[in-house]
Symmetry: C2
Subunit: 328 residues, 2 copies
């Protein structure tokens, strides 16, 4: 007899929240009851789960009574305020925000990589940054084989990483450019249609953004690799869905293409394209991530260059969160 | 008394050809007569230069009689076939294609970097790859100060780098997505609207593309730096105009931000943004290139990371070609 869970989803109306419901349906996640929570702005709306309509309720401190698993995807501030309350009510929290990712007693988990870390939780588990999770799905198997030292990477991030309203913003701006109308900016600091913006998340004093440092900081925790270094430039591109990352990776041991190809072909959650290359348009809506353009890096010893794509709403967020919940 | 030149432009109807006329007008290039040449498909069309209409003539072997300077921008095959003929007729050729860039007796020139190489020409001078020229405008001054060893870079290339029809293709595909019509592909191998394509120019056996290796190969010639290494991923993005490049650069000497900022602020042809960052949308139509997001690279000693943008039709092609012609 398999157990079944009372699940709450915080941020149910967002881009990730909606994907969570679809992922739980697709994977037959054992849900005995479902409570959809969001800000007062979205409460009263309905979402369908397994053919039944569920009304979104406003999030309160007492929203977590009789809940086994609470999955948060409503930003760091909401998580900081409400996740401890959910834990006090007896729920286990899977948090999509960055609020707890660097807390020593909160496992930060990509199930294919460090699924066993789940058992160390004290009520809260964190879901990594989307770009980091997608990149590590390809890097970690290579690390196991060759010993990862550092990477230089650039991202090509879809607007949906900034939420449902960012998708609308790209659509509206694209239409406005065609019709020579004024460009309205609400989510992104600059026009994203027909442009790229090298600015995702806030700037740090070092000149890197928070988003860029997540690769190194979260990568170290997930891979248990405290000396891992990552110099990243994160760039928003006018793509609706699925992130891409160009990576040059340096390893401790000599690398060779044959072994690297074989490793990537067997990597869980990853499809390796030996011919052709993945693109965000093909990766959108897919649970798996994709790697291609594998080559010996021409500017370093023991280096591999590769190109990785993945749906950041799925592996980068909703899918990974549900996978963590499945491990519990 | 300044001399005036009889100028031929081969590929006059293309995206770069049209820019050449504007650049020559803007810079008061001393033109005594102008001959516009293109394929039979474009011949008969007219273009305006300094208020006068000029009819495009079909390109023939005898198109270069009584021409002092012939500027080619019609692809490698046309340059290989016709540039030697132009030289035999007494013209000096400035070639925008990749046909002669690696020939030892053809100077490959970015005027701000190696303008003095112009004097070594034997009839043909080559204009570098657009992404390379834009990147080196920022890298070379840093090299002079700190001694450049190698770079890891990723490009965000505009469709106009693939010519005038590529601009139409992005526009048509964008419209087709909005109207749920079929996507027509002619120039790019895949849909470029709302997508990114990690494939510019042909693939080599190493897994790199020709475009990607131009940074290293052409960079070595332009900077007179035979050991320069560059691992690059070139990616086409749905941007109309202006390329962007994310770079991590390693130097021989210790680097510091104060000196690097000061150097970039004084670099010819470059505008350095200490606050904010350049984007392709702002860089389009500008003669200068732009650098920003300068930071100490967090994954290497003596490393700097930065972000560079430039209009690849101007500095990447037309402007640089006319600047070379001005040096003659």
């Amino acid at each position: 007899m398999s157990k079944s869970y009372r699940v709450a989803i915080v941020g149910a109306s967002g881009a990730v929240g909606v994907e969570m419901l679809r992922v739980m349906e697709r994977r037959n996640f054992p849900v005995s009851s479902l409570r959809l929570l969001a800000s007062p702005r979205s409460s009263g709306k309905t979402l369908t789960f397994r053919g039944e309509s569920h009304t979104i309720q406003p999030l309160h401190m007492n929203s977590f009574e009789d809940i086994d698993i609470a999955i948060f995807s409503a930003g760091g501030a909401i998580s900081r305020d409400f996740a401890p309350e959910a834990v006090r009510n007896g729920a286990v929290v899977v948090d999509n925000s960055s609020a707890f990712r660097m807390h020593a007693d909160v496992p930060l988990v990509v199930p294919e990589i460090n699924g066993t870390d789940v058992k160390n939780h004290k009520g809260i588990l964190a879901n990594p940054n989307c770009t980091t999770a997608i990149t590590l799905l390809a890097l970690y198997p290579l690390h196991r084989q060759f010993g990862l030292k550092r990477i230089f990477a650039s991202s090509y991030q879809a607007v949906s990483g900034a939420g449902a309203r960012a998708i609308d913003e790209l659509r509206h701006q694209t239409d406005a450019v065609a019709k020579h109308k004024p460009i309205l900016k609400e989510i992104f600091p600059h026009q994203i249609a027909f442009n790229v913006i090298p600015h995702v998340d806030a700037f740090l004093d070092t000149g890197y953004t928070k988003e860029e440092m997540k690769m190194q900081n979260e990568g170290r925790r997930i891979m248990h690799l405290p000396n891992f270094k990552a110099s990243v430039t994160c760039v928003r591109t006018p793509v609706y869905r699925a992130h891409s990352i160009a990576v040059s990776a340096e390893f401790e041991k000599p690398v060779n293409l044959e072994d690297a190809r074989s490793t990537l072909s067997k990597a869980p959650g990853l499809q390796f394209l030996d011919d052709g290359y993945p693109m965000p348009l093909d990766s959108a809506g897919k649970d798996d991530c994709f790697a291609g353009r594998l080559r010996l890096d021409c500017a370093m010893e023991n280096g591999l260059a590769l190109w990785i794509c993945g749906d950041q709403l799925l592996k980068g967020a909703a899918l990974n969160a549900i996978q963590i919940a499945e491990l519990l």
